[in-house]
């Protein structure tokens, strides 16, 4: 991904964000290289949005260093922002303006020539499959359409770097898949993508590399595959028992089967390289689950292992 001698597009060292006494981002290090899709995963309150806002030069760095496109956000904010697109977590569209006008006025903020803005607007409406709604007001549009419009709008300046803060939160599956497909196309065109998400499938679909954040720190870093290999097992066996069974006692019986057993209120999770063999062994040891499920280890397992199962807020 990174070519030797090619400086990272984003470089953070000891990056910290404090709000009064609260530390939102606690001295994190990361590099994002040109052309890659990089993800920040984490539960609510992990510091993902604060990190994104610092990269977008919308929020001053409290401590540490941050370079975006080789520039310092503290002094070169407008220059950096001229070359990046931001898809914020909450849409900031003007609901009373039409779809097209939202793009036209946004292009003006970048001081692009009007003719160029009009050209790009037509292309972007096409790209986001919004051409038919171009003259409709934004207000009645669904969440999926608004999200596509926000993404289209962020591309009006043809940015080198696109920041997406939870791009598909609240969308239905069809809308999510369409957004993913469009983002993948942008990546193929060479746009560097940096996104935050708490959807594991989104991270697996889109990210070449990601970090898992928890309580303002980076808990793990790697490609989705590396993270699964490193923090999880190839397969997971889920065993469900009756409500009166003592899960802890059952877990003890599985000692030595697989690499780890996790006791949940409603089931046991057995992390193993071979779930079928583990199931056979469990049966041999006298366990008779009501139902079971054999599945692959996923990023979600990694995520839950690293950030815990308790609710963040």
């Amino acid at each position: 991904m990174s070519v030797d001698g090619d400086p990272p597009l984003i470089q953070a060292r000891g990056l910290t964000k404090r709000f009064g006494g609260f530390v939102a981002v606690d001295g994190i290090d990361f590099d994002v290289h040109r052309g890659e899709a990089f993800g920040f995963l984490g539960p609510n309150g992990a510091g993902k949005t604060s990190t994104m806002r610092m990269i977008a030069c919308m929020s001053p760095v409290s401590a540490g260093t941050l370079r975006v496109m080789g520039l310092d956000p503290a002094t070169a904010g407008p220059r950096i922002r001229a070359r990046l697109g931001l898809v914020p977590q909450d849409d900031t569209l003007d609901l009373e303006l039409t779809v097209r006008d939202n793009l036209l006025v946004y292009g003006r903020y970048f001081d692009l020539p009007r003719k160029l803005i009009r050209q790009r607007t037509d292309q972007l409406l096409e790209f986001a499959q919004l051409t038919e709604r171009a003259n409709d007001k934004v207000d009645p549009l669904s969440g999926g359409l608004r999200r596509r419009l926000t993404i289209a709008r962020s591309l009006i300046s043809e940015p080198d770097l696109l920041l997406l803060d939870e791009p598909t939160t609240g969308l239905d599956p069809q809308a999510r898949h369409l957004v993913w497909e469009r983002l993948y196309r942008l990546k193929q065109q060479g746009v560097t993508l940096v996104l935050t998400t708490h959807y594991m499938d989104e991270a697996e679909q889109l990210c070449d590399r990601l970090v898992i954040m928890d309580k303002g720190r980076i808990a793990a870093e790697g490609s989705p595959r590396q993270l699964i290999d490193h923090h999880c097992t190839r397969e997971v066996l889920e065993l469900r028992f009756g409500p009166d069974d003592d899960h802890s006692a059952l877990a003890d019986k599985l000692d030595g089967v697989g690499s780890r057993v996790e006791v949940l209120p409603d089931r046991l999770l057995l992390y193993t390289a071979n779930a079928d063999a583990a199931l056979a062994e469990a049966t041999t040891r006298g366990l008779s689950p009501e139902s079971w499920l054999v599945r692959r280890g996923t990023l979600e397992d990694v995520f839950l292992r690293l950030t815990g199962r308790s609710l963040a807020d």
């Binding site: 407008p78 914020p88 569209l93 003007d94 003006r108 903020y109 001081d111």
Partner: protein
């Protein structure tokens, strides 16, 4: 040729105005017509009959009232533009946040919006001047200078209000601004009757309101009896408030939008 960033953020407000210009022009026209008819002509016929002519400087009530109302309308229009839309830019439509994701800076966002407030108040005041002239209220061609004075009066309210609203979490305080500041000032800052009619103890309160300065100068320009010294004093006071308001707004916008 690059366009100044604040002008680019102003572009948003003009875009947005394309949607509502008919309604606001109509109300900008109707408001002075209604007020000048009801109060200037209607109430004025009583006033003219019963008040000693010297009380209003020897002119009819309509001639006295119209320039004062012009300043008051500027205050109201500026307040409208600097309260709810500012809260909207921060919290509801989040227009400010959209702008700040582009090369625009917080100060560009603020200056662009304040430029828009000034434009909007100029528009309202120019229409007011037209209506006033149709009623035959101005006594001097200097009245055209009342338009920039009205704009300045508006800005003396708009910049501190914008700065204040940026520190608030809800629009409740905006309602309080109207109830406890705008309505009392509208009624007691010399628009409808000379401040000299107020009890001596509360007169100084009227003198510190920006509206009194705006009303006094607009009236003097309309009557043709403005003196350079008094004019300079009023303008200086209004400019000072505008500049202080802008300095406050720069700080409150920055701490709200770029935390």
């Amino acid at each position: 040729m690059s366009t100044r960033p604040a002008i680019r953020s102003l572009a948003y407000w003009t875009y947005q105005y394309r949607r509502t210009w008919r309604a606001t022009l109509a109300s900008g026209f109707l408001m002075p017509v209604l007020y000048l008819t009801a109060m200037g002509l209607g109430l004025g016929s009583l006033v003219n009959r019963h008040a000693a002519p010297t009380r209003l400087g020897g002119v009819s009530y309509l001639v006295f009232l119209a320039p004062g109302l012009m300043a008051a309308a500027a205050m109201q229009s500026a307040t409208m533009e600097s309260t709810w839309p500012v809260m909207g830019g921060i919290k509801w439509t989040k227009t400010y946040h959209a702008m700040l994701a582009t090369p625009l800076r917080v100060s560009d966002v603020l200056y662009g919006h304040v430029c828009w407030m000034a434009l909007k108040v100029s528009l309202v005041s120019t229409i007011f001047l037209g209506v006033m002239a149709a009623f035959g209220a101005p006594r001097s061609p200097e009245v055209v200078l009342a338009v920039p004075v009205a704009v300045l009066t508006g800005l003396a309210y708009a910049t501190p209000f914008a700065g204040f609203v940026a520190t608030r979490q809800s629009d409740q305080p905006i309602i309080a601004i109207y109830r406890f500041l705008i309505i009392p000032m509208f009624l007691f800052s010399g628009t409808f009757f000379p401040v000299s009619q107020l009890p001596a103890a509360i007169r100084p309160l009227a003198y510190v309101t920006p509206l009194w300065h705006g009303v006094s100068l607009c009236r003097a320009l309309s009557l043709g009896d403005a003196t350079p010294a008094a004019a300079l004093g009023h303008v200086a006071y209004l400019v000072a408030l505008t500049v202080i308001g802008l300095a406050i707004a720069r700080r409150t916008f920055a701490s709200r939008l770029a935390a």
